[in-house]
Subunit: 275 residues, 2 copies
């Protein structure tokens, strides 16, 4: 069965071996025609060349990673972040991405004020949304696991992300990454709600390892951990999202040390057997 | 100002240096008259001797750690866990503890079925509650940070814990540990709800370090991390709980390597300046 429209590779997954062009070649060798690159990978090869490669190969770009990181200690910092997000929207558009993925940012500076961080995120989102709408680029808030609340994202549940979407209106939805949300007692309810809102823009997969040895860089290959991936896929499909599942694995000491072709072959095999 | 009724030391905090008796002596040297021991520490000295020390020194025991760990792969395993929890209730009673703290357990065996794990927890709680009521020992569900959902506790938010309390009725409440709940967007709402239910049985403190280098054993001393401790204390006090704040720090590579007296002196200083 073709992987077309079903499997995407987030290029963080092959970061250990490959830049943008090598990763695309690798994906194509393995029958994978959808990718999600990171901005630094696009910048390294140049936006125009990246867009040319995408178009020449008929690739689907399931998301550009990432915008967000709104909070800052002062107004100038927040404005710089907003400006950077506007550029990210343009880059996502140039790549014809399905969405710009947003990791919204954590506590500003040395502050301990989570409500303030969340206010700054809402303000930042509101500030960039008109530009996103005007170019037709959907924004995807990615709620991050609560263990990243301080330093990466103060939006930590699907419920909270969807509340923001309701507040902000058209043009913004969510990226659902199993790693961040699998534990949530409200998971089924909130995925169904996201579906009713038409707000599901992306579906990221990997696995939660036990033990997890590093908070950021020890994500598992699908099937090696404890997440019930088929159950979550069913919830997301029943909620009406049928886009590709995007594999995103940060794994400094394991998958990033293996050859890219081994990583991709394993992704394909596990996609077929464990997802 | 006396620390009486205001500060308690969970004896995990001084686990690096001291057993039960040494920890009690240390606490008394620092003017601390409330403790929360772990079952293995009580077992090492013997329950009777531990109870004698508590009574002879007029100590308040803010909680016994810990019961819970209900899920198991088969019925025999679940029954063994229930039996063990009944013993833990008796031990808490012998120590005249304010509550038995429950870390409810994670996925049973190699299962990936979180809803099933949560059913097993609810069943386990229902099975031990009559005994807890009959001896007058309050049970305190401690919602654990979502990063422990797989292997330690599948109750991961205050909201979820309070829903269980509503379902189970009298005799059960929550232990609120800032480390586990500080990130929760519903924190203020759920603490207020817990107060209205009269369900707050304990208030644990420490801090969340950035970066956190180990999922389990890298908790910070109050003031060294990002948690707004005074804000959470105000929420809990406004919700009607005025019991001692209990310092519980798991810190393999830092505080557990320091002399117990240095740890306690720092706890007292930070309690007075950062909480």
């Amino acid at each position: 069965m073709s992987l077309e429209g079903r499997l995407s590779i987030n290029l963080a997954t092959t970061r250990g071996s490959w830049g943008f062009a090598e990763a695309v070649e690798g994906c194509l060798r393995h029958g994978i025609t959808a990718i999600a690159p990171w901005r630094d990978q696009v910048e390294a090869i140049g936006l125009k060349e990246a867009a040319r490669i995408v178009e020449a190969n008929g690739l689907r770009v399931t998301g550009l990673c990432r915008g967000g990181m709104f909070p800052a200690q002062d107004a100038a910092g927040r404005q710089a972040n907003i400006d950077d997000n506007r550029r990210a929207i343009d880059e996502a558009k140039a790549l014809n991405a399905d969405c710009l993925v947003l990791v919204v940012g954590g506590l500003p500076g040395s502050s301990k004020d989570m409500p303030e961080a969340r206010r700054q995120v809402a303000e930042g989102l509101a500030a960039i949304l008109p530009h996103a709408r005007s170019v037709g680029m959907p924004l995807a808030i990615e709620p991050l696991h609560p263990m990243y609340a301080a330093d990466r994202a103060c939006v930590n549940t699907l419920s909270q992300a969807l509340d923001l979407c309701v507040e902000l209106g058209e043009g913004i939805g969510v990226a659902i990454d199993v790693y961040h949300v699998w534990w949530d007692p409200e998971l089924a309810t909130q995925i169904a709600r996201a579906g009713q809102m038409g707000a599901i823009l992306a579906h990221h997969i990997c696995d939660w390892l036990v033990p997890t040895r590093d908070l950021l860089l020890d994500r598992g290959m699908m099937g090696d951990g404890v997440i019930d991936l088929p159950a979550i896929r069913r919830m997301i499909e029943e909620a009406g999202f049928h886009g590709p599942q995007e594999v995103e694995i940060f794994s400094r000491d394991d998958w990033w040390k293996r050859p890219g072709d081994e990583v991709l072959a394993t992704c394909v095999e596990r996609f077929n057997t464990a997802c």
